[in-house]
């Protein structure tokens, strides 16, 4: 038992030595240490890729690595909580998205942090519109035909969703409201099985990201009736926008940006914004992201803040209409 005691002492000693090595930092010389960018999703996905591509030049400019920490779960609220509760010195940032800043404020009523007030937006990096996809065997060729068919046959068509409360799910729910049609929701946990069932014709309608859906559209397995942005996509200029196809006032995007803890000094926010905007405007990054279906935005902090506000108001009624239970 005496040796056990000694062992604990040794451990404690090592810990104490390590603790003194912590060092302080000031806002003027920001960033003087590696920056932690917390992602609300797992490693290896599209969001992970977007974060890495857009942060690459920022790393070079700052001469400090940006370490990506994946914290998936609970609609992004685990990642948000980490950042909201971290030191507001610009060393810990959140890779904000539709889930953390458009859905969570309405869907999660009992959070340990305030999803809006605890953050200071840095920049809206990019957004990606959706395709309104149908199975080609349905014989529907335009958005107007789809709305017409759905109105004549209420509750006959199935639409797929990938992830409850995801942009792919809520875009379709929003479409139901705006077009005044009744489609039956078939929930999927991820996009892959939803795509398979759509190709096989077991579900008929699906709102999916342009980048994922495009190869299937080009191969003729799926039909894209419209794109949900205000402009046509350079990747598929033949697909009309929803407005051109006859449904006004209907735009949906998945979007991604960077946010910092609320009390981060404005000087740090400005420095971060400048670095990210410069990175996103570089031909290398912007062309890479454009080829993956993103619209590069690179907004100011104020524009991003306003955008978040608009998104929350836009989606709150959709979330209620979709019968999603407000949860803790």
């Amino acid at each position: 038992m005496r040796s056990a005691f000694r062992h604990i002492l040794l451990t404690a000693g090592a810990v104490a030595v390590a603790a003194t090595a912590a060092f302080a930092q000031s806002a003027d010389t920001y960033p003087n240490a590696p920056i932690k960018l917390v992602l609300p999703l797992g490693a290896g996905g599209a969001t992970d890729n977007l974060a890495r591509v857009s942060s690459g030049p920022v790393e070079t400019k700052f001469g400090q690595p940006i370490v990506i920490e994946n914290r998936p779960g609970a609609g992004g609220s685990l990642a948000s909580a980490v950042v909201a509760q971290s030191e507001p010195n610009g060393q810990t940032l959140l890779f904000a998205n539709f889930a953390t800043h458009a859905v969570t404020p309405t869907l999660f009523t009992n959070l340990s942090y305030d999803p809006v007030k605890d953050f200071k937006p840095v920049t809206l990096i990019a957004s990606q519109p959706h395709f309104v996809l149908v199975n080609p065997d349905l014989g529907i060729n335009t958005l107007a035909e789809l709305i017409d068919y759905a109105k004549k046959n209420p509750g006959k068509l199935n639409f797929a969703s990938a992830g409850v409360g995801s942009p792919l799910h809520l875009a379709a729910e929003y479409f139901k409201i705006k077009a005044g049609v009744d489609l039956v929701h078939v929930p999927y946990k991820s996009s892959a099985p939803a795509l398979l069932d759509l190709i096989a014709g077991r579900v008929q309608v699906f709102f999916d990201n342009v980048s994922t859906a495009l190869p299937h559209v080009q191969a003729g397995k799926l039909k894209a009736l419209a794109i949900t942005s205000s402009k046509r996509s350079p990747l598929a200029p033949e697909i009309p926008t929803v407005a051109e196809a006859g449904l006004q006032d209907f735009e949906t995007y998945g979007w991604w940006g960077v946010a910092a803890p609320a009390k981060t000094p404005p000087a740090v926010i400005a420095k971060l914004n400048a670095a990210y905007v410069e990175a996103l405007k570089s031909p290398e990054v912007s062309s890479k992201l454009a080829s993956q279906g993103y619209d590069v935005i690179a907004s100011t902090p104020e524009e991003f803040e306003a955008y978040i506000g608009k998104e929350i108001t836009k989606w709150a009624p959709v979330i209620k209409a979709a019968n999603l239970s407000p949860t803790n």
């Binding site: 078939v186 929930p187 190709i199 495009l214 191969a219 993956q292 949860t327």
Partner: protein, 511 residues
């Protein structure tokens, strides 16, 4: 007739052409080296107890950034095979399965290790995997495109019926009383429902923890209720585990071992190869089905669970065949069949390869290079691992009092690193205590884990099927595949249960 054979001959030539083309891509020195490095590192990380293949791949993923697209994917595939094999090694040596597919290997593989036959178990697992990998590579090259149809034909109703069959198999393949297995399957399925409801986002059984809003990670449950709980149990009876370190028999499988394993390997390849094509983790039913088949066909089924080599050879082959064929939906449809394939898809996008139905036409060098690299990957696994068996087996000589704290630490790091979440480490600890108590009450962790994995998919498929049929249960009989599977389930059930009932009745009569 003659026309047909000429046609067939031409097709063969074309297939060979494609494979040679693919080999030419994959066999560039750089790519072989990348494949080798991937396999080696994958094995090395995957063998750490508690770190499964998904965790291994996401840890090693950054190594592939900056490589050319084909090279990156080939390395990633190598990492995947290495991680899978490493996971089996951990199952066999220390009884900690890192993922669903190696739960079954742990049953007889670890028993073999306890009997001093760890080398044989590892060897047969490598050899079986290689044979299964070789056969299924040719299979994919020849049939990838027609097999795509299978993936498309399988709807939610069919899937549900298949999973029902999986539940039945899991209840019957375990060692103990059927009533206790059923209870564990139900408990596993219940644990799978923890988290946000997939349709309404309502929190279910989360006890107020936001960390439980997402599903309980499989690896956390597996390392807690299976690995760490067993670790706790073996600590209380020192004599049990001394068996492991006492004697280590031959390092490689003998001729009679190979003979005994030949048929299970081939059957496992067929079963796993078919189930692997199905989207949504169909792959993990492969080892379960293979184990069930082998146990049923065996002359002495009571050997199973006590170190039967067929119980390792069959499921391991099924596992590896499924690992290969699960590439089919990704390569031909651009739709990932499971989480690992989703990571692959992410890597493809990152490297500028558009995954989708046209990948064969647009990037043939990628498609055929990938298929050829599968086979090279399997060869590498064999080349790396047969010599390494000696090293792994020596690991068993490490005294248990040293091994035990190391396993605990690796499990903690494995649990943490999946979501960078300390809560998951504590959760693994909680499951370790719960699992230990369940073991003391005579329950087995295997059906619990199988119930968890199957239950997760089953609820999703059940609800999708019922929504599509607008609430009519008839959908399960109206869909031909589903109806066929249900009929098969009934036949199997009667075949398996009748002798049991008769035996019980005989016993009663004797008494």
């Amino acid at each position: 007739m003659a026309g047909g054979s000429i046609c067939g001959f031409l097709e063969m030539i074309e297939l060979l052409n494609h494979l040679v083309f693919g080999l030419a891509v994959a066999v560039s020195p750089t790519n072989v080296l990348l494949c080798l490095a991937g396999c080696f590192l994958g094995t090395l990380i995957g063998v750490l107890p508690g770190i499964g293949s998904i965790a291994t791949i996401s840890m090693l993923l950054p190594l592939t950034y900056g490589l050319d697209p084909v090279g990156a994917l080939i390395m990633l595939a190598g990492i995947y095979y290495g991680a899978q094999y490493g996971g089996s090694t951990a199952s066999i040596l220390v009884n900690v399965p890192g993922e669903a597919t190696s739960i079954i290997t742990a049953i007889d593989g670890h028993q073999m290790a306890r009997q001093g036959r760890a080398g044989v178990a590892l060897g047969i697992s490598a050899i079986g995997s290689f044979i299964a990998g070789t056969i299924s590579t040719v299979f994919i090259a020849a049939l990838a495109i027609p097999l795509t149809r299978v993936a498309l034909e399988f709807g939610p109703a069919d899937y549900f019926s298949l999973l029902l069959m999986g539940v039945l198999a899991s209840a019957l393949l375990s060692r103990g009383a059927v009533s206790k297995s059923v209870a564990m399957i139900l408990l596993g399925m219940l644990l799978a429902t923890v988290g946000m409801d997939l349709e309404t986002a309502a929190p279910r059984l989360t006890l107020g923890y936001p960390q439980l809003m997402e599903q309980i990670p499989f690896a956390v449950l597996a390392m807690g209720a299976f690995g760490l709980a067993e670790l706790g149990r073996s600590l209380e009876t020192p004599e049990n585990r001394d068996v492991i370190s006492r004697q280590i028999g031959g390092l490689l499988p003998s001729l009679s071992d190979l003979k005994q394993s030949a048929a299970p390997i081939l059957r496992g390849t067929a079963i796993g190869g078919f189930l692997g094509v199905l989207p949504g983790n169909g792959a993990l039913l492969g080892p379960v089905a293979s184990y069930g088949v082998e146990k049923h066909l065996a002359k002495e089924p009571q050997r199973f669970g006590k170190g039967a080599i067929e119980g390792v050879a069959g499921p391991e082959s099924a596992n590896n065949a499924a690992a290969q064929t699960s590439f089919i939906p990704l390569l031909t449809l651009g739709v990932p069949a499971n989480a690992v394939m989703a990571l692959m898809l992410g890597a493809m996008t990152m490297n500028g390869i558009v995954a989708g139905p046209q990948v064969i036409e647009r990037s043939p060098e990628f498609f055929w290079g990938m298929i050829a690299s599968m086979w090279i990957g399997n060869l590498m696994l064999l080349v790396i691992n047969l010599p390494m068996i000696g090293i792994w087996v020596k690991l068993l000589k490490v005294p248990f009092r040293i091994l035990m704290p190391s396993i605990v630490v690796f499990c903690a790091i494995g649990a943490y690193s999946m979501r960078n979440e300390p809560f998951d480490v504590a959760l693994a600890g909680f499951f370790a205590v719960g699992g230990y108590l369940l073991i003391k009450l005579g329950f087995e962790p295997t059906p619990l884990l199988l119930g968890f994995v199957i239950g997760d998919m089953m609820e999703e498929k059940l609800r999708q099927a019922l929504i599509m049929s607008r609430g009519s249960l008839a959908i399960f009989i109206e869909q031909p595949i589903s109806a066929g599977l249900l009929a098969l389930t009934l036949v199997l059930l009667s075949v398996l249960l009748l002798p049991r009932v008769r035996r019980k009745r005989d016993e009663v009569i004797v008494e």
